[in-house]
């Protein structure tokens, strides 16, 4: 603002400028830099400048700024990347990320081999701990979500089925959709959000505090102690969780069918036995270990990718959840195609 005012002053014919600093009580380096650059301006326009000052401190400050300025190097310019450089950098990052992921899978595979080589190598304690921590403790929330999803689906379709008087077909619909798709997907999504993110955050924090390095120097391979137990634990427990989700989802359906459509519980179960083939149930369960592998390995991999700063944990946890849910849905779509083509 002052600069503008100063620029507006007509300097034509001015030969000499005085800076009167006699009344100034406090004078900081910023003011000094300002005065200094003004003087340089005037100097270039062949205007003489005088500083009227009595306070010794002010002179010192002015001198300091003037002397430092002679030695100053310009700040490095932030180089702007061209679009091509930017694109190249991103693609290279993705390429590196892909390589790191392949490396991760290679190591997981090698560690699995060492598990298979000797039964003594298997970390039972860690596996059981993780089964409890990341799966059994999720039973409550999984039961609740699948119960509610069963309830909502049944309620919505009951309304439509009533119009056609096709009340009893609600059993076919609920049975197949819950067994085949809804229960496995809901379970996978809850586990990805709950346990996958926990894997990333735990392992990421361990990386920042150098615990992973400490393990390595002590000869404890993190893949053996941290990675594989988590993957195995989730692969074992996932089908069990899906089974619970099946029951709870159907329970929601049965309640709505009874209240809304007047279908009694025993009739519902009877009809379920008649029309829904067991294969639908088993297909849902088979998806479990595959989903679990994707969720656990992405969660752990993201944890290992954490760099030595705090932001990195948040970034990788987000990525872990997003990527594992996406991977689960892609995997589910693949299963759909495969099973349809196989005629199952």
């Amino acid at each position: 603002m002052y600069q503008k005012k100063i620029d507006k002053i007509d300097l034509l014919g001015v030969k000499e400028v005085d800076f009167n600093l006699k009344e100034v009580v406090y004078f900081d380096t910023a003011a000094s830099i300002f005065i200094n650059s003004l003087r340089e301006d005037f100097f270039q326009k062949n205007i003489k400048t005088n500083i009227l000052v009595t306070n010794k401190d002010i002179i010192d400050t002015l001198e300091l700024v003037k002397n430092t300025k002679k030695k100053l190097e310009p700040l490095p310019k932030e180089t702007k990347k061209t679009f091509l450089e930017y694109l190249g950098e991103i693609s290279y990052d993705y390429y590196r990320g892909f390589l790191a992921f392949v490396l991760f899978f290679g190591k997981v595979f090698l560690t699995t081999l060492s598990y298979l080589a000797s039964i003594k190598n298997i970390r039972y304690k860690e596996i059981f701990f993780e089964m409890n921590e990341s799966a059994l403790k999720a039973l409550g929330i999984i039961s609740l979500t699948s119960f509610l999803v069963g309830l909502v689906i049944a309620y919505q379709s009951a309304f439509q089925l009533k119009i056609y008087g096709a009340n009893i077909f609600i059993v076919d619909m609920l049975g197949i959709s819950i067994f085949r798709e809804l229960a496995p997907l809901m379970t996978a999504i809850v586990i990805a959000g709950r346990s996958g993110s926990a894997f990333t955050a735990q392992i990421g924090a361990m990386k920042i505090t150098e615990e992973l390095d400490a393990m390595r120097t002590m000869g404890f391979d993190p893949y053996l102690f941290l990675v594989l137990p988590r993957i195995i634990a989730l692969m074992i427990t996932m089908p069990l969780l899906i089974f619970v989700a099946d029951i709870m989802g159907l329970l929601g359906g049965i309640i709505v069918s009874y209240i809304d459509l007047g279908i009694s519980g025993s009739l519902f179960i009877e009809r379920l036995n008649e029309v829904v083939a067991p294969k639908h149930f088993f297909i849902g369960l088979i998806k479990g270990p595959f989903f679990a592998f994707l969720i656990a390995s992405i969660g752990v991999y993201r944890g290992l990718m954490v760099k030595n700063d705090t932001q990195s944990i948040g970034f990788n946890t987000t990525k872990s959840v997003v990527e594992s849910i996406f991977a689960v849905i892609v995997c589910d779509a693949l299963f759909s195609i495969i099973f349809t083509n196989l005629g199952i």
Partner: protein
């Protein structure tokens, strides 16, 4: 004198940045050897290379007679049980308490009974100057100094011949830092250790080190004892060792 660690023409490259080029050093049995240098010169990197946390881009590292570039998995695993490493912030396993932290390597690598392991843990806890009553505390419940002592006890759990310390006195108050120096000297005599440490702390350097290597400009610019160091003309050495603590 028997040499325990040999680095020959070690080269380290991060991306496009060359950190070390042609780095040579020798660490002998029974000595306390220090790695000193300006920040960013790669002291900790050298330490990480010696304990197989970081791969080198060229040259050779030999630790206790094993060449780290050609070492087999099995030998590497054995080598790891012959050294102890103390990380800068301790790096205790946060899910385990002090006792479990110290007993972990014993449980994994030995067939000792629980009673025997407890005895060993008690001994290690007292030798580093912790109280037995602290044994059941978790890393989040103890102070920085105690963390370092516990981590030192864990590093000593398997009675290593070789101990690596990454800035052992950083983050400690001056009194605890001097205590830690004294502890290191005591342990060296008591357990017949050879110690490699990275340090910034001049007092600690003068109090503990037998020999020192100064890393600057990508290589070792001085290796030897501390008496002759002031004769050096290097700018870093001159500024760093200017003050008197002897």
């Amino acid at each position: 004198m028997q040499s325990l660690i040999n680095l020959r023409d070690v080269r380290t490259v991060f991306g496009t940045k060359v950190v070390h080029n042609g780095l040579n050093l020798t660490i002998n049995k029974g000595e306390i050897y220090g790695l000193v240098g300006p920040s960013g010169c790669g002291k900790t990197t050298v330490l990480r290379e010696m304990v197989m946390l970081q791969e080198i881009s060229g040259g050779e590292i030999e630790v206790l007679g094993h060449n780290l570039s050609t070492i087999s998995n099995k030998e590497a695993q054995k080598l790891r049980s012959e050294w102890g490493v103390l990380f800068q912030a301790g790096a205790l396993f946060s899910s385990l308490n002090i006792k479990e932290n110290i007993s972990l390597p014993l449980k994994e690598y030995t067939d000792l009974s629980q009673k025997m392991i407890d005895e060993i843990v008690k001994f290690k806890i007292s030798i580093v100057g912790l109280k037995s009553s602290d044994a059941l505390l978790y890393p989040s419940q103890i102070s920085g100094g105690m963390k370092k002592k516990s981590a030192l006890a864990r590093a000593l759990a398997m009675d290593p011949k070789l101990l690596f310390l990454d800035e052992p006195t950083s983050g400690l108050d001056p009194i605890s830092a001097r205590e830690f120096d004294a502890l290191i000297l005591k342990l060296r005599d008591l357990l017949d250790l050879s110690i490699v440490m990275v340090s910034h702390d001049l007092q600690s350097i003068y109090a503990t080190l037998d020999r020192v290597a100064i890393i600057d400009e990508k290589k070792i610019i001085y290796e030897g004892d501390l008496k002759n160091i002031k004769n050096s003309t290097n700018k870093f050495i001159q500024t760093f060792f200017r003050s008197d603590f002897e």
